[in-house]
């Protein structure tokens, strides 16, 4: 029942509650016969975030986003438009705009990917979690967050500690003119603790988190305590950390940093839209060797080894079921990541990498969970093999380039002397060329972690930030350039 007075007209009248499937049907009927082929996507998403500090909840916020998008093709030219209001007039205007974009594009030599027919099929996915964060009371959430804060303050009561719980869920209904229909719901939740240590000559901070397709009871029996304590210990340690030595060193990258390397410096180079644009230097390089047989890079819609970690993309925003691909298979470049149309253009099977951040955006080629495949070493064996060098932990992000040059910043690290961990190090940049880096891989560990969080993600062409999974094993590299800090 509406709490608004009925005497004034609504801003955008659409009084009938409508399911996403109904909305998609309505748009499909409106666009039929006006284009050669089309795709309709209706979606609704919701997110919630709780902040805890000083022994109590400090804030809560929630948001939801819904909308509908249409992509259509007329004489091979495509147009895309979307709207958040879903009354009949808004939908007509959206379709008109998509038609007008397709028409205007006809005068140009530049083009978009073609529409690729796929067999009619219905695909459905629902997440499986324990303790839905969207149905939890603030007391239940506060209990988790309070445990994380308490564990951090037990390490040092002078720390400034914040604990956060963030969750997002997304429901997408897709239909195309060929009879393909998908209906998928995905969920991502993150429990995070951040600590700042100011009672030192130099401030330091640390954070840790657990994330993935998880409900409140899926963070582990001692998960909150573990991340709280770890954030506190790293905050204190980072206030005493020294600058990493600049120059070339033997380097061991931890799970998170190796994931950043796999995603940023190699993954993007194999996204087919960037191949088609000639942005990536890997254009024309399928079948070429870039690393030893010890190195494989995978992009997968689910992390099979630990299905709750990372993200799940059972079906992409072009109606394509996701399948894992070994982009780099035992050192040889074997596959591109494809959107539905780009796969058709190349004569390849679609991979399920056509993703859009929300209904506002057209799908483009995006990664899902990208990682190096694990090897045989233990971390101790990797350190022993390295003997003297630098152990880099965590990835704060960075910048790749089309030629394979990269610059990423670690979160922290350690000097390694004689195969043993020595002094803690501040954040430092690691830079180089991914192809030289891959050739220099001396070992890969068998431990394996992939993570995706509600904070940050991948940005591409304005669609920032899309949740992606990154991680993998530790990777030992013979020779890498470190930037150091002053």
């Amino acid at each position: 029942m509406s709490v608004l007075p009925p005497s004034r007209p609504p801003v955008a009248p659409d009084p009938e509650p409508e399911t996403l499937a109904g909305l998609a049907d309505r748009v499909r009927s409106a666009v039929a016969r006006r284009a050669d082929c089309f795709e309709v996507r209706a979606e609704a998403s919701e997110s919630i975030e709780y902040t805890w500090s000083r022994g109590g909840l400090q804030g809560a916020g929630t948001s939801r986003l819904s909308g509908v998008a249409v992509r259509l093709w007329v004489k091979g030219r495509s147009g895309f438009a979307s709207c958040h209001t879903t009354d009949a007039a808004a939908i007509e205007r959206m379709i008109d705009q998509a038609l007008s974009i397709a028409g205007a594009s006809a005068s140009s030599e530049a083009s978009s990917f073609p529409h690729a027919p796929l067999p009619a099929r219905k695909i459905r996915y629902r997440p499986s979690i324990h303790g839905n964060p969207f149905e939890a009371s603030p007391e239940e959430v506060g209990s988790l967050l309070g445990r994380a804060e308490g564990a951090a303050l037990a390490v040092n009561p002078t720390l400034q500690v914040r604990a956060l719980l963030a969750a997002s869920r997304r429901h997408v209904v897709y239909a195309d003119s060929g009879g393909r229909e998908t209906d998928s719901e995905t969920l991502l939740a993150t429990l995070l603790t951040h600590a700042i240590h100011r009672n030192a000559s130099r401030p330091g901070d640390g954070q840790d988190w657990i994330a993935g397709e998880r409900g409140l009871r899926d963070f582990g029996a001692d998960g909150p305590e573990r991340i709280g304590k770890h954030a506190a210990v790293t905050a204190i340690e980072s206030s005493t950390a020294i600058a990493a030595p600049a120059g070339r060193h033997r380097v061991l990258c931890d799970n998170a940093l190796s994931g950043v390397l796999a995603h940023e410096s190699f993954g993007h180079l194999t996204e087919y839209d960037l191949i088609a644009m000639r942005w990536s230097r890997l254009h024309g390089c399928l079948g070429q060797r870039f690393a030893s047989e010890a190195v494989s890079v995978v992009d997968a819609p689910i992390v099979e080894a630990s299905p709750r970690d990372g993200i799940r993309v059972p079906v992409d925003e072009e109606g394509v079921e996701g399948r894992p691909i070994r982009v780099l298979d035992k050192g040889v470049l074997r596959h591109w990541m494809h959107a539905r149309g780009s796969a058709q253009l190349e004569g390849h099977e679609p991979t399920g990498n056509g993703r859009a951040m929300n209904a506002r955006w057209s799908p483009i080629v995006r990664m899902r969970n990208t990682y190096f495949e694990p090897g045989d070493l233990t971390v101790e064996e990797a350190l022993e093999t390295m003997r003297d060098g630098v152990y880099l932990i965590g990835g704060r992000g960075g910048a790749p380039s089309a030629g394979g040059e990269f610059m990423f910043t670690s979160v922290r690290g350690y000097l390694v002397k004689g195969g043993r961990i020595d002094a803690p190090l501040r954040a430092t940049a690691i830079s180089g060329n991914i192809f030289d880096f891959l050739k220099g891989v001396r070992g890969v560990t068998r431990d394996f972690q992939v993570s995706a969080t509600n904070f940050g993600g991948c940005g591409k062409w304005g669609q920032s930030y899309l949740a992606v999974g990154m991680g993998g094993p530790h990777v030992l590299v013979e020779d890498a350039q470190l930037g150091g800090v002053a």
């Binding site: 004034r8 400090q58 438009a81 958040h84 083009s111 978009s112 120059g247 910048a399 002053a486």
Partner: protein, 455 residues
């Protein structure tokens, strides 16, 4: 065209009354209606898309308990959902000791920000034409092996109202053009990005072909780039690179971060935080900036030019309504939701339009006064990885040159710069007079010490 302001105002009034009826003692309802057009072209691949964005943010206080709820859409059911959800969630929350102040109508009475009509409903063929015409410049530079252009036009209106009777509104419209270009030579990729923004059609406000020709010249393949062989004691940043790095300072001026002691500048007003050469002002009333507004997203009026750092001394933090009340300071009109009036985010205490005061020198003169250093131009990679708590940063300059005894002597392989931004502030030695405007501020070129540089 987005929805007329009168319709938005009526919906805000209804939302506030609904929140009151549901039990809120204070309520703020913020509605926005925005639209954007995006044309992107690289190689022979093009995407064109048009999208709307509209929604409501309801923030309520119920028995001292506060919550913020956001929904897309402007139907009555969207507003109702947000109001009901906010009030019901607030009842479950603990009482907050953070103060909240809602502005009154008397605090918000400035005229609306002018917008360019061409940007409120642009023609698709014009947008396509701007991109095509701009990229044609590259026909004369076939050695540029990759270029991509993107034109984004956006416009929007917001209305904010509250239980004090406030009903403030403002609108925005701007256009931005970005172009990424790349050349490979001598085994090194040289890339840079050109970014231009304006409150009117960007091709009328800027000489896009001229800017692209300058960029092409900058990435022109030169003689063999060499590694940096020995330490340097200074870096000369062009205005683009200087701004990228100095942007990392802006969160430290936020009043809420200072109140919570999360900012390095907490309790530092009146203290020396930078060299005497450095002055920084925030000005949300600058009509030439795309970050110009008459009200922030809480309906608090812009205070005009606000000195943040004067000749090295910290003068002010920026405040939204809550942080000002908590600090016992006056609000400065800095409760913003990302880009003005567009993003589906609750307001945060945010610097709006920061301008680094220019100096007296040309970039060439900054180089001439550098004994041994590095000149970096055209943009940095990875500058955003800066740790805003500690100030530590590490980033790469793909377009760098060795400077010896005041002269550029050799192009360098990409140089990695490392340092601490708060230390670097104290090592700013001279500024150029070449003030360049960026989306969130303006900055000249800078000569500074206190960094490490390596290749």
């Amino acid at each position: 065209m987005t929805l007329p302001v009168e319709a938005l105002q009526a919906a805000v009034e209804r939302g506030v009354r609904a929140a009151q009826r549901a039990g809120a003692e204070d309520a703020e309802v913020y509605l926005w209606s925005a639209r954007s057009w995006e044309t992107r072209e690289a190689g022979r691949l093009r995407t064109v898309q048009e999208s709307d964005g509209s929604g409501v943010n309801v923030r309520v206080r119920v028995d001292g308990r506060r919550v913020s709820v956001i929904s897309s859409g402007l139907r009555d059911e969207d507003i109702t959902w947000a109001v009901e959800r906010a009030v019901s969630l607030a009842r479950l929350m603990p009482r907050s000791d953070t103060p909240w102040h809602l502005p009154t109508p008397e605090e918000s009475s400035a005229p609306p920000t002018p917008v360019d009509r061409e940007l409120t409903n642009p023609r698709v063929d014009r947008l396509l034409g701007v991109v095509e015409e701009s990229l044609r410049v590259f026909d004369a530079a076939p050695w540029i092996d990759y270029r991509a252009g993107a034109l984004i036009t956006s416009e929007g209106t917001f209305v904010v109202g509250n239980t004090n009777g406030l009903l403030a509104w403002d609108r925005h419209a701007h256009e931005s053009f970005t172009c990424e270009l790349r050349a490979e030579g001598q085994g090194e990729f040289r890339t840079m990005t050109v970014g231009l923004q304006a409150r009117r059609p960007v091709n009328e406000a800027h000489d896009i072909p001229g800017a692209l020709r300058s960029a092409i010249e900058l990435v022109r393949v030169k003689a063999q780039a060499v590694p940096l062989a020995s330490p340097v004691n200074e870096v000369v940043f062009d205005s683009h690179c200087a701004w990228q790095l100095l942007q990392g300072l802006l969160p430290s001026f936020a009043g809420n971060a200072a109140n919570a002691k999360r900012s390095r500048f907490a309790s530092q007003v009146g203290a020396v935080v930078a060299s005497e050469a450095f002055t920084l002002t925030d000005d949300s009333s600058d009509p030439t900036s795309i970050r110009c507004y008459r009200y922030d997203d809480q309906g608090s009026p812009s205070q005009g030019a606000l000195p943040l750092v004067e000749r090295g001394i910290l003068r002010n933090h920026v405040h939204d309504l809550s942080s000002a009340l908590q600090a016992g300071a006056a609000p400065t009109g800095h409760g913003l939701r990302g880009a003005v009036g567009r993003y589906v985010q609750p307001p945060k205490t945010t610097v709006a339009n920061a301008r680094v005061a220019p100096g007296d020198h040309t970039l060439q003169e900054l180089v001439e006064t550098c004994e041994k250093g590095v000149l970096v131009e055209g943009g940095l990679l990875g500058h955003f990885t800066l740790n805003s708590v500690t100030g530590d940063f590490s980033c790469t300059a793909p377009l760098a040159h060795l400077v010896e005894r005041g002269r550029v002597t050799a192009p360098l392989k990409p140089v990695t710069l490392g340092g601490n931004l708060f230390d670097l502030l104290r090592e700013v030695r001279a500024l150029g007079r070449d003030l360049q405007r960026f989306s969130r501020g303006a900055c000249p070129s800078v000569r500074a010490g206190g960094l490490t540089a390596s290749t």
